[in-house]
């Protein structure tokens, strides 16, 4: 067969012939030429499995096949799955029932791979499920619910019916946006682009630090027909600068003359997709001159180090500071003092969806449809770059295939917006995996020097914490990390004397930004290991030590805040106590018979303030009643898989007194939904959820007023009327008799909630957060002392979530957080300039996450909606230190530099043996 002929094959049961170059990747042909965007592309290298399809019934990666190789064969994609085998539909339903799909980007690949397994083996073991799905990475779920869903696929359980009015909060309802995730029709950043869109690719710096001179761009365009235009800094209509924190904004859309990190963009080539795709960008006309680069904290802080930004002396971006009491005196008077230096590396978010989007100029407005966690921030920054008013930019967030903090920052948006503005045609961009890893933000590497004291009865006396964080080339969320860490570095304990300073330091590395916890996971690795060392020194059980110090409702935090009701940390540790005792018995029994495989048990606690630190962060929810009796919920909190579409509806429904199935959801879109802030800082359930309850209550008051009914009346939404039942009397309200507002609503409510906080004074004293979430993890593991490898056996978690609005979704957040904590502890580290792929950068697979048992504590917060607190970041923070504590329990060695890879553990064991 020659390449010119159409390629015949059977696709989802239909015989087709596709006219495409035979060498094109099958995944691209499926998505671009055949419009089957349910097959996802996460890496183009067989490392993630998101593109899995069935070839004659066998699972294969469609990114690793030429479409010509499919000729004459039968191909099944997610779109054809239900028709292919009866098991597939049950599998999809089981994924919904178990909460096995969070963001949904890996879900098609998971379902396809699981279908291949179940077709061969209808009753697989857990091991068989893992073997079959080991090639599909998931960054959200922690895999446990996926395993459960596949094992349960035979049960034929239908979707549970939705709870009635007033019973939504606390119910394990399936996610409301779940169906489109399991059938592959959800639109992510790279999906659903217009056929006439032009493609944009970025020209990026090959050096950490370099000067550059552009060559003859006109000649390049002339010799490459199909290129419409090349964009550089001079083409930016507004400011060539963006950044998530206005006063610190410092990142150019296109670098001018010099670049500050490897991968920084200097130009963009835009044109016909087939032409742009085929370009060898190494031939782009530019000359580079490599300049000396500083990548490490030490190099950046050294005398005479190159300065990244003029106004930031010594490469210090910002300092954070909290002080309370007299630290030196308290340490001097302590019965026991421990200290240590702890280090962490760059950690990559590694969501399975690389950044992608499309921009359209609509008259003199700009529309950007892309994956994002922060639509209004994107709107304002895109407007700044284009020189438009914010209202003239519309951000349409797509489904987000994992965010974890990195999609708070702009990626593709400014490039495609600038190009679409000039070209007046839709312009799309899809990051490659290497581009995503090399250029988007990372978790800050931290180096923390910490000293902690206690009295002999086990009470903490003082903490002295100093941490430096490598913030990379641009500010991003560096200031937030530097401010959040000092507020949190005590952990959820009463510490009377406290001093914590943090600095964000610029280097020529990729910018470090927000990653699930804003620096708190790094600080917790230091603090919780030192608590173990302190307990050991004092001869106190490590869990008891934490119980002795667990913050009480009447004790001040390190910022002097008295939290009062809803301080649930003690309950978390108490809930772990029976597991702790059992785990130690199991470990002792195992260790009695084996000296090579050593079992260990570890625990760590955490707290995390929900929302912005001492800064306003309001959310606004609009709720409208339509003439047909249905409710329109304008819910602008971007659901990045964590479940805000579902949880916020649950909260609103119960506040109003309406059943969930009366709601029509209008999800985030800056033209449609009011500002619900960014999906970060574990704030959406709390802040937007609270705004939704306020809106629900407000609408309820309006309805009751129309019926002159009392506060405890029941509402019945039936067709075009609402029946208000009060003390046995029904007051029907005919909705079509009521006037409609501009949106077509007969009644509507819009409510805003901004958490009550106060500014921190010069010593960091004040009320940084209106509420904190609390939790603790217990890890059981075994270390192969000859190889330094770690086998995780079980992780038990206890989280005070205030009120578990949807326990299934909360468990999903916890299990996903645990998985990322496992990665942080044991395998993940990004080295700038190296390993920009998912086979050198390792995240946990389905075989790396042990069973997770989650205990939900509901210590109701007076300020949270129905008492609820955030869980997104809380879930990750204690895992890594609990693992490190368990490794120390098993082997006697402390790993102070994560990840604790086999070589580091083995080296520490050998070193301890010769001491």
């Amino acid at each position: 067969m020659q390449d010119s002929a159409a390629i015949p094959f059977t696709l989802n049961g239909q015989k087709i012939a596709v006219a495409a170059p035979a060498e094109r990747r099958l995944s691209n042909v499926l998505r671009d030429d055949l419009g089957l965007s349910g097959t996802k592309v996460g890496c183009d290298a067989g490392d993630c499995g998101a593109c899995t399809v069935l070839l004659d019934g066998e699972a294969v990666c469609s990114c690793l096949m030429a479409v010509g190789q499919v000729s004459g064969r039968a191909l099944t994609t997610i779109e054809g799955l239900p028709g292919k085998t009866p098991i597939a539909e049950r599998l999809q339903q089981s994924f919904l029932n178990h909460g096995a799909a969070q963001c949904g980007i890996c879900t098609p690949g998971m379902l396809v791979a699981a279908t291949a397994l179940l077709a061969e083996n209808p009753n697989p073991s857990e091991k068989a499920v893992k073997d079959a799905l080991g090639g599909v990475l998931c960054r959200c779920t922690g895999y446990r619910k996926i395993i459960a869903a596949v094992l349960d696929a035979g049960s034929r359980r239908d979707s549970a019916s939705l709870p009635g009015a007033g019973r939504a909060v606390g119910a394990r309802i399936n996610r409301l946006d779940g169906q489109r995730k399991v059938d592959g029709t959800d639109i992510f950043g790279a999906d659903g682009h217009e056929a006439n869109a032009l493609l944009l690719r970025a020209i990026r710096s090959p050096y950490h630090h370099a000067r550059f001179a552009l060559g003859n761009l006109d000649a390049y365009i002339r010799t490459h027909p199909g290129i419409h235009r090349i964009f550089t800094a001079t083409d930016v209509p507004g400011e060539n600068c963006f950044g998530v924190i206005g006063p610190f904004a410092d990142q150019p859309v296109f670098a001018v003359n010099a670049t500050r990190f490897k991968g920084e963009t200097i130009a963009a080539v835009v044109g016909d997709p087939k032409v742009i795709e085929a370009l060898d960008l190494r031939q782009f006309p530019v000359t580079w001159e490599e300049l000396p680069a500083v990548l490490s904290l030490d190099a950046a802080l050294a005398d005479g180090a190159p300065q990244l930004h003029n106004a930031r002396d010594g490469n210090v971006l910002v300092r954070g500071w909290v002080k309370r009491g007299e630290v030196e005196a308290a340490l001097a008077g302590s019965d026991a003092v421990v200290e240590g230096i702890f280090e962490t590396g760059f950690v990559e978010h590694a969501y399975i969806e690389p950044e992608a989007g499309i921009a359209r100029r609509v008259g003199d407005r700009m529309e950007v449809q892309a994956c994002t966690q922060a639509p209004y921030m994107d709107r304002d920054d895109v407007a700044k770059v284009l020189g438009l008013k914010p209202e003239d930019v519309r951000i349409i967030p797509t489904a987000v295939g994992g965010g974890f903090g990195s999609k708070l920052d702009l990626s593709v948006q400014p490039f495609i917006a600038v190009a679409a503005w000039h070209l007046k045609r839709p312009v799309r961009m899809v990051y490659t995996r290497p581009e995503s890893i090399a250029t988007t933000t990372k978790r800050h590497p931290g180096r923390m020097q910490v000293k902690i004291g206690a009295s002999k009865d086990g009470h903490l006396t003082a903490i002295d914490f100093a941490g430096d964080f490598n913030t990379g080339a641009y500010a991003s969320w560096g200031p937030t990390v530097a401010n959040r860490v000092p507020v949190h570095a005590s952990g959820p304990y009463y510490v009377p004397h406290y001093r914590a300073q943090a600095r964000a330091i610029h280097t020529h590395a990729v910018p470090a930004g927000a990653f699930r916890g804003f620096g708190v996971p790094q600080a917790t690795i230091a603090q919780e290991q030192l608590y173990d060392m302190l307990a050991e020194k004092l001869g106190i059980d490590k869990l008891d030590f934490r119980l002795i110090n667990a913050l009480r409702p009447d004790q001040p935090t390190v910022t002097g805040q008295i939290l009062g009701a809803g301080t649930g940390i003690r309950a978390c540790f108490e809930a772990l106590k029976p597991h702790w005792d059992r785990a130690h018995r199991d470990a002792a029994a195992a260790n009695a018979t084996s000296s090579l495989m050593r079992r260990g048990v570890g625990v760590a606690g955490m707290w995390y303030g929900c929302g912005n630190t001492s800064l306003p962060n309001p959310s606004t929810i609009r709720l409208g009643l339509k003439p047909d009796g249905r409710l329109a919920l304008h819910q602008g909190a971007v659901d990045i898989g964590q479940g805000s579409n579902t949880v916020i509806t649950q909260l609103c429904a119960d506040a109003l007194g309406a059943p969930i199935d009366c709601f029509d959801l209008l999800s985030a879109d800056t033209d449609i939904t009011p500002d619900c802030g960014k999906t970060s800082a574990s704030r959406q359930t709390f802040v937007t959820g609270k705004a939704a309850t306020l809106a629900g209550e407000a609408l309820r008051r309006q309805i009751l007023r129309l019926a002159n009914a009392g506060a405890d009346a029941q509402l019945k939404f039936q067709g075009g009327r609402v029946a208000v039942e009060d003390r046995g009397i029904a007051h029907p309200i005919d909705l079509d008799t009521l006037p409609q507002d501009a949106r077509g609503y007969v009644l509507s409510a819009e409510e805003t909630f901004d958490p009550p906080t106060s500014p921190l004074d010069e010593n960091g004293q004040g009320v940084p957060y209106a509420l904190y979430g609390f939790g603790a993890h217990l890890v059981e593991l075994a270390v192969d002392t000859e190889l330094g490898t770690v086998e995780l056996i079980k992780i038990t978690t206890a989280h005070d979530v205030g009120r578990a609005v949807n326990p299934t979704l909360i468990e999903g957040q916890i299990e996903g957080g645990v998985a990322q904590g496992i990665g942080l502890a044991l395998m993940e580290e990004f080295h700038p300039g190296k390993g920009e792929n998912l086979h050198d950068y390792l995240i946990p697979t389905i075989g790396d996450v042990p069973p997770v048992e989650s205990i939900l504590i509901e210590d109701v917060s007076p300020v949270g909606p129905f008492g609820a607190k955030g869980i997104g970041e809380q879930a990750l923070i204690p895992t890594a230190p609990a693992i490190l504590n368990a490794i120390a329990d098993a082997t006697g060695v402390r790993i102070t530099r994560v990840p604790a890879t086999p070589d580091r553990i083995r080296a520490a064991i050998k070193e301890a043996a010769v001491r």
């Binding site: 690793l64 290497p434 190889l787 330094g788 190296k834 086979h839 050198d840 946990p844």
Partner: protein, 282 residues
């Protein structure tokens, strides 16, 4: 240009005519391309029947170069192939095993190629064809270095040939060490094949280790020391640092060189012990 020869002779002709690139399972081909496009002619050999066959001949087991890992796992093969099958199950994921081929794994010549230690332990040879000749090489002579083979322009690797009788007498075992459970590039991997005499002593053993040097290698010093071993204690005593000096591991993102040397010794001892025990059960 994308060519799909239906026979080996057609494939060989096309290769010499077009100086193209060979595509089989694509599991190394496409990742290596990244965002670039292949501009040379591509010759897809995945439909050449002679290349896909797995066959038993009188004194040889012939694995067609285009046999996938899943096909090798499913094939009835002598016990000496257990290590190769175990390695096959560890290559990437099911998706990779369903497409990736044994010939591709060898031609890619990664120091971390999981199939190479088991094939070295089986004393595999490779069969190579070109328009002018056919030749055979020992596997150790075919892989010359990191990503370097003895394949000349115009040549195609057609089959892997394994002595059958020895493989039928061998018990074999494979261990792989990686930093996570699935989809992982090896930090080190070990293949052991051994045969015991009627009195239970080790009569013959081949041990190969991968990811600890640019090319996977046999460990003749340890193999020799193991001859006559009758117990797991004997076996452990044969694995000494002095017999591992030929390993030249490197530091990379996966592990330090020191660690690889240290871990290899442990893994070799355990692999031989496990294989020894298994051979006693047979």
């Amino acid at each position: 240009m994308f060519l799909q020869p239906a026979s080996l002779s057609a494939a060989i002709d096309m290769l010499s005519q077009h100086q193209g690139r060979i595509l089989a399972g694509g599991t190394d081909f496409f990742p290596a391309l990244g965002a670039l496009s292949e501009t040379r002619p591509i010759i897809d050999i995945s439909r050449v029947p002679e290349l896909c066959a797995i066959g038993m001949e009188a004194d040889l087991v012939r694995l067609g170069a285009g046999a996938t890992w899943s096909e090798i796992v499913a094939a009835p093969l002598p016990t000496g192939f257990d290590a190769l099958k175990a390695a096959a199950r560890e290559i990437g994921s099911i998706q990779i095993q369903n497409r990736g081929t044994i010939g591709g794994n060898l031609c890619n010549a990664s120091p971390a190629a999981d199939s190479v230690p088991p094939l070295l332990a089986l004393e595999a040879r490779v069969e190579i064809a070109s328009p002018s000749h056919r030749r055979e090489l020992a596997l150790g002579e075919f892989i010359l270095g990191n990503r370097r083979t003895a394949l000349e322009p115009g040549e195609i690797l057609t089959a892997v040939l394994i002595p059958r009788r020895q493989a039928e007498r061998f018990t074999s075992h494979f261990v792989k060490l990686g930093a996570r459970r699935y989809l992982v590039i090896s930090i080190a991997m070990i293949a052991v094949a051994l045969e015991r005499a009627p009195d239970g002593a080790i009569a013959k053993t081949h041990i190969a280790v991968g990811s600890c040097s640019a090319v996977a290698q046999r460990l003749p010093g340890i193999e020799k020391a193991l001859l006559g071993a009758r117990s797991v204690t004997d076996v452990a005593g044969a694995v000494t640092p002095g017999r591992l000096t030929s390993l030249t591991p490197i530091d990379d993102v996966r592990a330090t060189a020191d660690y690889r040397r240290d871990a290899a010794a442990t893994l070799i001892r355990r692999a031989v012990q496990d294989c020894f025990v298994k051979s006693g059960e047979a």
